[in-house]
C-alpha cells in the first residue's frame, strides 16, 4: 500500500535480476510439469472414480478445516493481540509452531495425542469417538497445520491498526462483544480473508500430517495430495493430471481472494 508510491520513485535496476530469477524458479517447474501432461487422456484421468473421490474429499475436508480455523483462530488472534497476560509471547511462539514443523512431525504429534494409544485417544474411544483412520483425522491434521496461518495474519493486522477505534466505541458505551463484532473484525476483514484463504490453501495441500495420522483410504482419508503420491508410483500420467487439478484449484482460490480483498480494501 505504501510501496505503490515507491515504485514511481524508481527502483534500483539490479533488483530485477534476482527478482526475475526468483520468479523463474517458481514458475519454471510448474511449466515443465504442464509440458508432461497427456492432454488426450486428461479428462479420463481426472474423472476416474479414485480421482473424483480424492478431489471431493479434499475440498470437503479443507472447507471444514477452514471453518474450524475461523472459529478457533479468530479468538486466538484477538486474545494474542489484545489481552495482556504473562507468557503471551511464549504462547504466541508455541501457537505458531506448526508453521515451522515438518508436517510429518505434526502427524506424529497428533498420533500420540488422538491416536488409539494416545494421550486422549483412550478417553475418546471410551466415549465412542474413533479418530484414527477417519475423515475426522484428516480435518484435524489440516486444521493443525493451517490454524497458524489465520492466527498470524489476523493478529498482525490487529496489532497494526491499534486500539483507537475500539476505545472510541467502548467510550460511546458499546459492550465488548459489540465492539468485537462491529469494530474490531470489520477493521481487519481483508487480513481475515487472506488468512482464511491461506488456511484453506494449506489445508488443501496438506500431505505429511495426513498420511502419518489419518492413513490413506479412498473416499475416507485419501485426499488429493495422497492420491497424487500414490499414483506417482505406477501411473505418472495420472499423478501429473491430478497435480494440474490441484494447481488450478489453488490459482482459482488466489484469484477469488484478490477479487474479494480488492473489494474490501
Amino acid at each position: 500500500m505504501i510501496r505503490s508510491g515507491a515504485s514511481r520513485l524508481g527502483l534500483p535496476g539490479w533488483l530485477f535480476i534476482p527478482a526475475v530469477f526468483g520468479g523463474l524458479f517458481i514458475v519454471m517447474p510448474l511449466a515443465a510439469m504442464l509440458t508432461r501432461v497427456e492432454w488426450a487422456n486428461f479428462p479420463a484421468l481426472i474423472t476416474s472414480e479414485a480421482s473424483r473421490d480424492a478431489l471431493v474429499l479434499s475440498l470437503r475436508t479443507s472447507l471444514i478445516a477452514t471453518g474450524l480455523c475461523f472459529l478457533l483462530g479468530v479468538p486466538m488472534a484477538v486474545v494474542l493481540a489484545r489481552a495482556r497476560f504473562r507468557g503471551r509471547d511464549l504462547l504466541r511462539a508455541l501457537v505458531l509452531l506448526p508453521l515451522v514443523l515438518p508436517p510429518v512431525v505434526a502427524g506424529i504429534a497428533l498420533l500420540y495425542t488422538f491416536g488409539r494409544r494416545g494421550l486422549l485417544g483412550h478417553s475418546l474411544e471410551v466415549a465412542g469417538v474413533q479418530v484414527a483412520f477417519s475423515t475426522t483425522a484428516v480435518v484435524m491434521a489440516q486444521t493443525f497445520v493451517a490454524l497458524p496461518f489465520l492466527v498470524i495474519s489476523v493478529e498482525a493486522a490487529l496489532r497494526t491498526v491499534g486500539t483507537r477505534y475500539e476505545s472510541v466505541a467502548a467510550t460511546l458505551g458499546a459492550p465488548p462483544t459489540i465492539v468485537l463484532r462491529r469494530v474490531t473484525l470489520p477493521v481487519v476483514l481483508p487480513a481475515l480473508i487472506s488468512g482464511l484463504v491461506l488456511s484453506f490453501a494449506r489445508a488443501l495441500g496438506e500431505f505429511g500430517a495426513t498420511i502419518t495420522f489419518a492413513g490413506s483410504l479412498q473416499g475416507a482419508t485419501r485426499t488429493l495430495p495422497l492420491e497424487i503420491y500414490l499414483q506417482r508410483e505406477t501411473d505418472s500420467a495420472a499423478a501429473i493430471a491430478l497435480s494440474v487439478v490441484l494447481i488450478v484449484v489453488a490459482v482459482l482460490i488466489m484469484g477469488l481472494t484478490r477479487g474479494l480483498s480488492g473489494r474490501t480494501a
Partner: protein
C-alpha cells in the same frame, strides 16, 4: 506487517532446511572411488550393513545409498540420477529399467521376501490366521495395490480366498508397520523382513507357505555407472557368501 512477513520468511527458510536434510550425501572430500547404490526401501538395514563390509574389503572405497520405493528409483534413474547399482524389490520395476536401457548387464535375483501378518506385541484382536483379518471390528492396514507390497497382499488374498476390508491402504510397507507398531491398527500385512527388523515393536504371524507370495529382488549395474568394475564387484559381493548371510539373518530367503 513486518513481524508477519519476517515470521513467514523465517518459517519458509526453516521448512526449506528441514526438507533438505533427507538426502544421504557422502563426505565432501571424495575418496579414491565412490559407489552409489540405488536400493529399495526394504533393503535399508541390510544394504547399509553390506556397504560397511564392502568398504572394509575394498579400502579407499566409499559406498553411499539412495533408499526409496523401487518405482521411485526407476524414475530417478530415468531422469538421469547418478546410480551405479540398482537393487529393486520386484521384477516389474527392474524390467521397467531394462526396457529403458538403464541396465548395463542382466539383472540377477539375489534374495526373496514373502508376506507375513504383523500385529502389536499384545495382539489385541487375537489374530492367529489370515482369515482372522477379515473378522468384523478388526482394523487392518495394508499396502495400496499399486505398490509392490500391496500387489503381493492382493495375491495372498486371492490365494486364501479372504477379502480384506482395510481401514487404510498405505503407500509404503514402513507406514503399514508403523501403524501396527503404534497400535493404531490391530494388524497389517508386511514383508517378513519388515516384521523381523522391527526390534520387537510388531510380532509376525506366518501365512501358510503354499498360500504365501514370494517377491524376487533383482540387482543390476546401470549403464550410467562411472565405475562399472566396482559396481560389478558390489553386485558380486551381494550375491556372495557374505552378502547372502547378512540377507538371510534379516529374514530374506535365498533367490
Amino acid at each position: 506487517m513486518t513481524t508477519n512477513t519476517r515470521a513467514l520468511v523465517g518459517a519458509c527458510a526453516m521448512l526449506a532446511l528441514a526438507s533438505c536434510g533427507s538426502s544421504e550425501e557422502a563426505a565432501s572430500t571424495p575418496p579414491a572411488s565412490r559407489l552409489t547404490v540405488f536400493a529399495a526401501s526394504s533393503l535399508r538395514s541390510t544394504f547399509t550393513e553390506l556397504g560397511k563390509k564392502f568398504e572394509a574389503e575394498h579400502p579407499g572405497t566409499s559406498v553411499r545409498f539412495n533408499f526409496a520405493g523401487s518405482a521411485d528409483l526407476v524414475s530417478q534413474l530415468q531422469q538421469g540420477a547418478p546410480g551405479d547399482v540398482f537393487a529393486s524389490a520386484d521384477a516389474a520395476n527392474m524390467d521397467k529399467a531394462a526396457a529403458d536401457k538403464l541396465l548395463a548387464g542382466s539383472a540377477t535375483a539375489f534374495a526373496t521376501n514373502s508376506m507375513i501378518i504383523a500385529v502389536p506385541p499384545n495382539n489385541p484382536a487375537h489374530i492367529t490366521t489370515f482369515a482372522d483379518l477379515a473378522k468384523p471390528g478388526v482394523e487392518v492396514v495394508i499396502c495400496a495395490p499399486t505398490v509392490p507390497c500391496g500387489a503381493a497382499t492382493k495375491k495372498v488374498e486371492s490365494n486364501t480366498g479372504v477379502t480384506l476390508a482395510p481401514v487404510s491402504e498405505e503407500s509404503s510397507v514402513v507406514d503399514v508397520r508403523n501403524k501396527v507398531a503404534t497400535g493404531e491398527a490391530d494388524a497389517g500385512v508386511v514383508y517378513v523382513t519388515e516384521a523381523m527388523g522391527s526390534a520387537g515393536k510388531v510380532v509376525g504371524i506366518a501365512i501358510a507357505g503354499k498360500l504365501n507370495v514370494t517377491n524376487r529382488y533383482p540387482i543390476a549395474v546401470t549403464t550410467s555407472s562411472h565405475s562399472p568394475r566396482l559396481a560389478a564387484d558390489f553386485q558380486a559381493f551381494v550375491l556372495g557368501t557374505n552378502g547372502q548371510q547378512v540377507l538371510a539373518e534379516a529374514g530374506f530367503g535365498p533367490a
